[in-house]
Symmetry: C2
């Protein structure tokens, strides 16, 4: 269990300031997708944790739970779930706690809740809780030490109370009820705040206090903070600094950054504060927050391998923290891997073990597939007429000029640099590269490009290449692979005709690391069962792409033919001293008639499309002579 | 399950002749120890399996079972247990089968049994079986396909039957009852034998037939074979060749080797025979058997890593075949490791896992300790008077001039060659080295010295050193280790005061291999719990050595003082690129007053020995100043 209060104690000990972000459930579906992307980006800033605020009432409360789960399991963000009590029946609270538990979330911020509009006074929902301290006590009683429980601190005022001493007393009661950290409302006056912290300490509140920081994105938002029910004192110097530039948004943000950064610096220098909590209510605040953090110079060095325990980002879902082995196939589709394995009872740790037991979830149950609109993808990837057009898309992706492909959610990584020319060259010749990694023969774990894991270690990789190979080439490619005792491969088509030379069903470790005082860590593998699960997803994504185009169009025909007849092949060069070993396999091989539309190549009329089903095709696996296509094309022969 | 018949089919396919040996339960305890040593040596010849003959009647039957268990689990020999039925009640047969099963044995030779002395006719024990075929049928029925079941073939005669055709018919019935291979009685006439094989094939016996081969060690034994109840035809050419040299034992063995080898060659060339089974009834036959095998040139190349799947010899005990991780500590005491882990429910495979679950057996329950007589060890290791004398013993061992030490059953291995000078130098200075391995940075798995595992792989080792360090040096040694971030260590004394800088309880892999299409294999580790188990054994063996000497003797006092006050320290250099890294730790360190008897060093009278208990001594762990001994001695300072 990771508890925020422990992390805060660690931060205090190491004297390295840390920070966290707060997110709230958006109103629209598009907003949710954007928010996940934003959370994903902000993971890169290295927050200690993130908050998800509680959206009281039906759908919104459900959304909070969903966001907690996504952040924790798919995005690998340590998450603190807000939970309010006055507007909630006990059964709803139980439900929310269950979801938090099942998501692997171990931190709750227990709140009284927004004041209900109809009443003047806070009242407990029937059977529910009246005060935050009741909720704290209840969670403690039900879940023992599972959850770290935070509470809100009001340093200047609460909605219905301006008696600071009484507020300190209330806070003391909440802490005594079992909470282990305090997050405060936003403020601008650092002296007032530190005075309040001293009062808390005098009152016997010893748990960590986290100041809530509100970056300044616009002048309007800035002055709004000086009023409103949660208004806080704005120092005259701040008003004086803002007044002359209030009509220049860029200047406001720059000045705001300076003021907030100055305030944060004072907080950190006080010795009382070691962690900053950034409210990020709106999209605009992402930029303002980033500016403050950069100004403070407290962004952790994310390139440093100390921050990267494994070569892929870990999920923090329930039972997943120990997970440290994954198939390589989903490297560019992490979220779908997490989704398809979410029902596993246990996750591989140290080794893949019996690959037959962890059954992958079915595609449909997890909503695998392209998520955007047909128009979006037609605009993004165009309307290819010939293999050459698809080949060009892949080349653009390899060159960093295209950010995604149906099988890759992210732009190509820096790691591919050393094999980029080879990848581009293969794709130019119509050998479409889906996934790859170069061989690495023991570089330090601190290596900027390939490093991961603890200090003073060495990391290794076997060269890996996953390619989509046309039926006219597959026979020659496999013949060449099988000639080399250092190569292992799996080849499969849509019909799941599998061919491999792997020695048994067991996994092949393709990434591993050797560290002081530890077992060998082997976080990435290639093996049969997961490849077949990936194969389903691969061909499904291709079909999704085809279906972005109208049913009788040449593009639809082209992509469907690709999915129906080409082979997905993964190749491992087992001698990790060989960097370019795999590419030699394809020397002088190229797809014929690259730039001819499919109906010309195959000399077929544009087929009629019936019921949207794919044209039936003869796909017999292998042996060269079983194909109706042209024989292997070998350039220069 | 490994079945002999499968191995025979493999041998037939690969066209590489294989062989096996037969052992019988000896009569004396010393005989048993000698036999185990012999079996251990003969493991080195690379037999496909070994037989243990059935010792009918009480103790002897029990001994067969014990031998099967030892061969299978401790010696890692694939074993076939003989089992006779006519002289056994069914309950005894059930018991024997149960023991075989529990030992991991998967092969049984089902026999009728020796003719009972009192009766003229074979008769079933009440409730037992009359014929071998009944026993075959019973085992098949009770254990399904668990056991491979062999039966005896009589190519010339049976004790009570010389009708070869009828014997073929009886054999057919035994095979039909469910047996899957045939082992024949010994013979000298290869033509008669091959004629019989043809008869068997004609009768529809298709299972592999294994000829029983009896090497010739003495003339007397040779001619005895021509008579007796199991007599076989001796070709005149053999008699003619033997007659002139019958009084020269050396000549007889040489000529016998030639005759038997010639016969074996004919058998193998016949195309019917691919495996030879050597009867090894007496100690003398070990040599004669070896001579024949060498003459035939069929000894497998045991240096080849194909024959060495892991760096240590695997146990073939029940549930142990998949075992592939062990602590390094028992490298020179394999049998005691196997003994102390025999009750484990499962064995580490792929990783050590939770090191707390596999509880090591207590020392006494497994008979750990020195097995020989006090005189034997006093003769072997002398009567050291000062540390210098012990240091000299260690130096002799490192130089290959002494075959064992209390903590090492075997002579030092070839692998130590590259660090031998360093080891000798340490021991000379009174830093006693117990166990070590040099660093290996990825040599081919076919490497003669360090290689193991499948072809085309690479193997690695971290440098490892286990030393016994005197209390005057321990503080400085640990200070030096802790200064180097690449070093991890455990230090412990007899009282189990443990000190370590290991990052957590988990194991440290010190030997691993990377192979085509496989997970990383990490067969040797260092970790806490097993080190503490080894520590108990280590100090116990030292105490056993002390007790070889009379209680008031200076030697006894010296060794007991060593056990009571010195520290057992293991050190791993985690950067496997560094071959000599560990040795620098001890630069300029040496034990003071190496050659003074202990009572002079400590300025004590020879202590009185009461009730054989050790002298009580103050052993406070560490910190340099807590010792009464002289401060750290640094040469040259």
């Amino acid at each position: 269990m990771v508890h925020i209060s422990n992390r805060l104690h660690e931060a205090e000990k190491s004297q390295k300031p840390t920070f966290s972000f707060e997110f709230f459930p958006p109103k629209t579906a598009q907003g949710i997708q954007n928010l996940y992307d934003r959370m994903d980006r902000m993971h890169g800033f290295g927050p200690t944790y993130i908050d998800v605020t509680w959206g009281a009432g039906g759908r919104s409360a459900h959304l909070t739970c969903e966001m907690v789960k996504t952040a924790q399991t798919a995005l690998g963000l340590e998450t603190c779930m807000h939970l309010t009590c006055t507007d909630m029946p006990k059964s709803k609270i139980d439900e929310a706690l269950k979801v938090a538990y099942a998501s692997g979330c171990t931190n709750i911020l227990a709140l009284r809740g927004d004041p209900p509009r109809e009443h003047d006074k806070w009242e407990a929902t029937s059977g529910g809780f009246r005060y935050a301290k009741d909720l704290v006590r209840y969670i403690r009683q039900e879940y023992k030490d599972h959850f770290d429980i935070g509470v809100a601190g009001y340093s200047e005022r609460c909605e219905d109370n301006e008696d600071v001493d009484q507020l300190v007393q209330h806070l003391k009661e909440k802490v005594d009820a079992g909470s282990t950290f305090v997050v405060t409302q936003m403020f601008y006056d650092v002296d007032l705040f530190l005075e309040w912290v001293r009062k808390c300490r005098q009152a016997g509140i010893t748990v960590p206090i986290i100041p809530g920081i509100m970056p300044i994105s616009t002048y309007a938002a800035f002055v709004r903070r000086a009023n409103g029910p949660m208004r806080c004192h704005v120092p005259q110097t701040w008003l004086d600094a803002m007044e002359p530039i209030k009509n220049d948004d860029v200047e406001v943000r720059e000045q705001g950054k300076n003021l907030v950064a100055e305030m944060c610096r004072k907080l950190l220098e006080s010795g009382e504060i070691h962690h900053l909590h950034f409210h990020s209510y709106t999209m605009n605040l992402e930029k303002a927050t980033r500016m403050v953090i950069e100004e403070l110079g407290i962004m952790p060095d994310m390139e440093s391998p100390i921050e990267k325990p494994l070569p892929w980002r870990q999920s923090l879902g329930l039972k997943r923290r120990e997970e440290n082995v994954r198939p390589i196939f989903w490297r560019n589709k992490t979220r779908s891997y997490v989704a398809r394995t979410q029902d596993w009872d246990e996750f591989p740790n140290g080794r893949w073990g019996d690959s037959r037991s962890p059954a992958f979830g079915e595609l449909d149950a997890y909503g695998i597939g392209l998520k955007g609109s047909n128009e979006h993808y037609r605009k993004l990837w165009g309307e290819p007429q010939a293999i050459k057009d698809i080949s060009n898309l892949f080349v653009k992706y390899m060159e960093g000029k295209l950010d995604s492909l149906p099988w890759s959610e992210q732009p190509i990584t820096m790691e591919a640099n050393i094999i980029r020319d080879d990848l581009v060259e293969l794709n130019r010749r119509g050998i479409l590269t889906i996934n790859s990694q170069p061989a690495v023969n023991g570089v330090k774990s601190s290596d900027k490009t390939h490093g991961w894991g603890p200090r003073n270690g060495y990391v290794y990789q076997k060269a890996y290449l996953e390619v989509l190979v046309s039926p006219e080439l597959i026979s020659e490619v496999i013949t060449r692979i099988e000639r080399d005792p250092d190569m292992t491969y799996y080849a499969v088509n849509k019909n799941a005709d599998l061919k491999t030379n792997a020695p048994g069903d067991g996994p092949n470790a393709v990434t591993w690391g050797v560290f002081p005082g530890k077992e060998i860590v082997q976080p990435t593998i290639v093996e049969t069962i997961s490849f077949l699960a990936w194969k389903d997803e691969f061909f499904r994504l291709g079909q999704d792409w085809a279906e972005c185009h109208t049913s009788a169009s040449p593009t639809r025909y082209l992509i469907e033919d690709l999915m129906d007849t080409w082979y997905l092949v993964n190749i491992v060069h087992n001698d990790f001293h060989e960097t370019r070993g795999i590419f030699h396999l394809f020397d002088e091989l190229a797809v014929k008639d690259l730039d001819k539309p499919l109906h010309e190549v195959k000399d077929l009329p544009l087929r009629p499309k019936v019921n949207g089903s794919s044209l039936k095709k003869e796909v017999t696996f292998m042996n060269g002579d079983a194909h109706q296509e042209a024989p292997v094309a070998v350039n220069g022969n």
